[in-house]
């Protein structure tokens, strides 16, 4: 039986406690001591889920105003982004635009200005949607996540973070504190592409590509895709297959391999068949764009 009468999107149809801690430590203490507490940042995923009663947390711990989570910093060879930085702040960040152009391109394509003003990068990652648009670029860059609890900080690669649709390795008493992203490697071309039903929608398929061109050959390609597998995925076999190929060869070979790297399904947004076919198209388009950008040094931040 469908619980149609339990849903009420005008109100969150159940009661819960709401905490707004002043420090990260306080947040971690509440998460440890209050049964059924859950982190909320912008709420653009979580509140929707609550209205539909897909989750019914007993308490929300609001981290969106914690200054400790709200910064973007260039530290040596990586950019550190606090988890409560909003998507719009990332779009407007010079550091992100110049040092992480692939991430910037993805974030710039997300949602609408209004949603970007409250949605956070931490929420996008921790929501662990296979379609999370920041995931493919972060996978391509090899980002690290700092997960913090009262026990301390653990640093995990983003590749190990996701385990299934809406499932990750984060523990209920942990907060994603920051994301460490190695700066865009010099001379690499990049491209993020996605298709969705309308210009204001979650992706049907997304592809992020980073690569270098050396003597007309592709080097160190890093390819990640969204919405075509239970989690955002790196296309490792494709990467291996196109290493050292010319662009023409890669356009031919890449799409053949990418099929093996993904496992799309039919859902309300599209079909498995379409996703498979268009993932190949987007891969080709992205390889071409990344290749061109790699050859054109003006496009890439130097130094």
């Amino acid at each position: 039986m469908l619980s149609v009468n339990r849903i009420n999107t005008y109100r969150i149809p159940f009661t819960f406690e709401y905490y707004r801690p002043r420090t990260l430590r306080e947040a971690l203490e509440i998460l440890r001591s209050v049964e059924g507490a859950k982190v909320v940042a912008g709420g653009t995923d979580l509140v929707v889920d609550m209205k539909f009663r897909r989750v019914e947390p007993k308490a929300l711990v609001d981290v969106s105003k914690l200054e400790e989570l709200r910064y973007v910093r260039l530290v040596e060879d990586y950019v550190e982004i606090g988890s409560a930085v909003t998507l719009q702040e990332l779009v407007e960040s010079e550091v992100v635009r110049a040092r992480l152009p692939l991430l910037w391109e993805a974030v710039n394509s997300m949602a609408s200005w209004q949603v970007r003003n409250i949605a956070t990068i931490g929420g996008n990652i921790c929501n662990a949607s296979p379609a999370a648009d920041t995931a493919p670029p972060l996978l391509a860059y090899g980002a690290k996540l700092l997960l913090t609890s009262l026990d301390g900080v653990r640093e995990v690669g983003i590749g190990e973070f996701f385990v299934g649709p809406k499932r990750s390795i984060i523990r209920p008493d942990e907060v994603l504190q920051a994301i460490r992203v190695p700066v865009h490697p010099a001379g690499y071309g990049w491209s993020f592409r996605k298709v969705s039903r309308t210009s204001f929608d979650i992706a049907k398929i997304s592809v992020a590509v980073l690569l270098k061109v050396d003597g007309g050959r592709i080097r160190d390609p890093r390819i990640a895709l969204g919405a075509v597998a239970p989690t955002p995925v790196r296309a490792r076999s494709t990467e291996r297959a196109i290493e050292s190929l010319s662009l023409e060869e890669a356009l031919e070979v890449g799409p053949r391999f990418v099929e093996g790297d993904i496992a799309p399904i039919d859902d309300v947004r599209s079909t498995a068949w379409y996703r498979r076919e268009v993932a190949k198209v987007l891969l080709r388009d992205s390889l071409r764009t990344a290749y061109e950008r790699s050859l054109n040094p003006g496009w890439v931040h130097e130094g």
Partner: protein, 778 residues
């Protein structure tokens, strides 16, 4: 030649809307008010054994069950005459026939308590049946009857094979005409159900009055029919039900009937004796309340070598969902759209409306015309191609135009066409889009392919006619002059947000030669207005506007009578009226005697001071025609042959709306009409999973309509108005709202064909379908 018609003025409600000051039903708060929630059936087809209300009541809620409302069948739409009204609805039911059908309702002092009380209701089901979701399965022998008996007019009728209504029609000799044809084409078309996505989810507030009457505020396109239905269902005299007109956030047909929420709110109010507010959430509105009709059409048509259309055969099966809103009249209008598009020498029609266990369907903008026009315009394009005749030429040779009989709204609503802008729109539009250079799809190559398509259609302006027919259609207006010469305009006619009433204000202003700013549009109610059937069928300006004009004309006569007394003219015929820009008022004067002048304000003041009485008029008006507003769309699209994504590149939207009263708002109708048609063509659809749950599940997040970024850039969207004059309309005006979207699907589909050489017979033409079709063709 006009002072106000055809010019742009600020909308009377523009600032209030832009600043959020307008109060919609949702915003109404009354002291002591209760908040309602509806218990929706969790099954698509079931039987309730019992409802345990004790827990909910112990929380302090008032509970309404099927036992607490009159057990009387009704149809929420009161536009057909009673003999043609099929009644199969109850306010609340023990036999839910679609997922979400209201079984019970609660009202409590707070929204949270109401939600808790709702969850505290225990509804026990005796049986849960397998829902019938496909109309063909519903008609198959042995299928469980969704309704056994319903009431037509006042008579019980048996329902056989789940067929809710049927209509057959024929004219001429189809077999003979087919033998004479050189080309015959037969195609099947499928249009899914769609949601209206009107901005405002439905709601109602009902308040008991000290005199025992009730006052109702609700989302509706018709306050008078709402009053009548409440009166009929609850057995309350009409003089004790007052329905207030409230601004509505778009209609598109979704509130063309009286919504169930309204009737449930009334029931809760009567039972509790307290004011009750009941509003649907967006999800309830889109998943459990209404969708548009689903069409399965078969068209067979022929033409001769010289480019003359011979016959048309049309089979039309409608999946109407679990109840009838206007399942029978739609069979008639679908036929009307078909017959009136082209000069078929012979026609044969068979239409059936079929029950399924899905949310009831109601009209969506165009009432079947966009769907039928798409099918016909596809077949016509194909015939032209086969005959080697330019599709524009073929259309011009065969369409129904000036001087011919026309009956868009069904077989009982016929009139003669008196204004026709089709040749002008085709000539100018084809030039602007570059029709001649559109190329042949077979010669187009490359990943991105462009194509240009045309769609020609029309909509009626209302459903009037010289004979009474099966449809009720008349309107009314009251115009009164205040003692300072300003004017109050009182009408029951609803403005859905398109600016219909601003058009009326201008019509009145033009008739009286006073500025539109002096005409106040009064927020009225059923107690203080005369009957208007409904704002539907693109009749707001044509019928309602003419009622307003006639009331204003009567006021003008009275003003002239009084002015003749003041100016000592021999009689009112000696007087002229003119708008004086400096005085910003009407000036009445004797021709040739410039010193004999008086302003309208002065006339009003004198009439008051000298006890001559109020200057006012009340008019009830029936239009004796429903003239077609023709529209011709030229659309250019670009198809990405690798992703199947279709992008709109350019649009030329041509409309023959007669005299254009509000040019900017009329252009807005075309922009909006295109957006909606585009969405139907390539985007939105309500499909169902096997348990009767809409496949988009429960959220508007997965029901996609285009955003501004998905539509053509404003500079690539050209609006053309034909220079026509409709002799039966107010100052020559006709309707526009539905004509604005009717040919869009057709134009888009024909453009896609011109780009890639593939015809689609099922909408929406999604990227998935385009890519699959391209791959299949190889």
């Amino acid at each position: 030649m006009y002072d106000f018609i055809g010019k742009t003025f600020p909308r009377h409600d523009g600032v209030a809307k832009a600043t959020g000051l307008v109060e919609f039903t949702f915003d109404i708060e009354i002291p002591d008010m209760l908040y309602g929630r509806i218990f929706k059936s969790p099954y698509a087809f079931a039987k309730v054994r019992r409802i345990d209300t004790s827990l909910a009541e112990s929380l302090g809620a008032v509970v309404l069950t099927p036992d607490s409302v009159p057990d009387r069948l009704f149809n929420p739409r009161l536009v057909s005459i009673e003999e043609d009204t099929f009644k199969d609805w109850r306010v609340l039911t023990y036999t839910p026939r679609y997922l979400g059908e209201p079984i019970a309702a609660v009202a409590a002092p707070s929204e949270d308590l109401a939600q808790r009380a709702l969850e505290a209701l225990k509804v026990e089901f005796e049986e849960v049946y397998e829902p019938i979701l496909d109309p063909f399965k519903a008609m198959a022998p042995g299928a469980r009857p969704i309704h056994e008996r319903i009431v037509r007019g006042r008579t019980w009728v048996e329902v056989r094979n789940n067929v809710a209504a049927e209509l057959r029609y024929s004219e001429g000799d189809v077999e003979l005409e087919e033998r004479r044809s050189d080309v015959v084409i037969e195609r099947r078309f499928h249009v899914p159900r769609r949601y209206h996505v009107q901005l405002e989810p439905k709601g109602a507030v009902c308040k008991p009055e000290p005199d025992g009457s009730i006052t109702v505020w609700t989302t509706t396109q018709t306050i008078h029919n709402t009053k009548i239905l409440i009166s009929q269902v609850y057995g309350i005299p009409m003089s004790r039900v007052n329905v207030k007109k409230v601004p509505i956030g778009g209609g598109f047909g979704s509130s063309i009937h009286t919504n169930l929420v309204t009737l449930i709110a009334v029931g809760l109010c009567l039972k509790s004796g307290r004011p009750v507010k009941l509003v649907l959430t967006r999800e309830e509105d889109m998943v459990h309340d209404h969708v548009s009709f689903e069409f399965y059409m078969r068209i067979r048509a022929g033409a001769t070598k010289d480019g003359t259309i011979t016959f048309g055969e049309f089979e039309n099966i409608l999946d109407i969902g679990a109840h009838q809103v206007q399942a029978y009249p739609l069979l008639g209008t679908a036929l009307g759209w078909f017959v009136s598009l082209y000069r078929w020498r012979a026609v044969r029609y068979y239409g059936r409306s079929v029950y399924t266990n899905k949310v009831p369907s109601c009209a969506i903008r165009g009432y079947g015309a966009p769907e039928v026009t798409w099918a016909v315009e596809t077949v016509v394009d194909e015939m032209a191609e086969e005959l080697g005749i330019d599709p524009l030429e073929f259309r011009l040779r065969n369409y129904r135009g000036r001087g011919e009989i026309f009956w868009g709204q069904g077989p009982t609503v016929k009139s003669v066409i008196r204004s026709d802008g089709v040749p002008e729109l085709i000539a100018r539009g084809s030039e602007l889009i570059g029709w001649r250079n559109r190329g042949d799809p077979r010669s187009k190559t490359g990943r991105y392919r462009r194509g240009i398509g045309v769609g020609r259609g029309f909509h009626t302006s209302g459903a009037g006619g010289p004979l009474s027919g099966a449809i009720i259609d008349y309107s009314g207006a009251i115009v009164k002059v205040n003692e300072d010469g300003t004017v109050d305009y009182i009408t029951a006619l609803q403005d859905h947000g398109g600016g219909t009433l601003d058009a009326h204000a201008k019509i009145i202003a033009e008739e009286l030669k006073i500025p539109p700013s002096k005409v106040r549009i009064v927020w009225s109610d059923t107690a203080t207005t005369v009957y208007d059937v409904c704002t539907h069928a693109s009749r707001g300006v044509y019928v309602g506007g003419e009622a307003a004009r006639r009331a204003a004309a009567e006021v003008r006569r009275k003003v002239l009578e009084y002015a003749a007394r003041i100016l000592d003219a021999v009689n009112p015929e000696a007087l002229r009226v003119e708008y004086d820009r400096e005085l910003d008022d009407a000036v009445i004067y004797v021709e040739g005697a410039p010193d004999r002048r008086v302003t309208l304000s002065e006339v009003a003041r004198i009439a008051w001071q000298r006890n001559w009485g109020s200057i006012s008029a009340s008019v009830s008006y029936r239009a004796t025609a429903a003239p077609p507003s023709f529209t011709v769309y030229f659309v250019e699209v670009e198809v990405d042959t690798e992703t199947g994504i279709v992008r709109p590149v350019r649009v030329v939207a041509g409309a023959d709306a007669g005299t254009v009263i509000n040019p900017e708002l009329a252009a807005g109708q075309l922009h909006g009409g295109f957006a909606m048609g585009w969405s139907w063509a390539v985007g939105d659809e309500v499909s169902y999973t096997e348990d009767g749950v809409p496949a988009h599940r429960l959220s508007v997040a997965d029901y996609k309509i285009p955003t501004a970024l998905d539509l053509p850039k404003p500079e690539e969207f050209v609006v053309l108005f034909a220079s026509t004059y409709e002799p039966t309309g107010p100052f020559g005006a006709k309707g526009l709202g539905e004509a604005a979207s009717n040919p869009v699907i057709a134009a888009v589909a024909n453009a896609i064909y011109n780009a890639i050489g593939i015809r689609f017979y099922e909408i929406p033409i999604t990227p998935e379908r385009v890519l699959e079709a391209l791959r299949e063709r190889g």
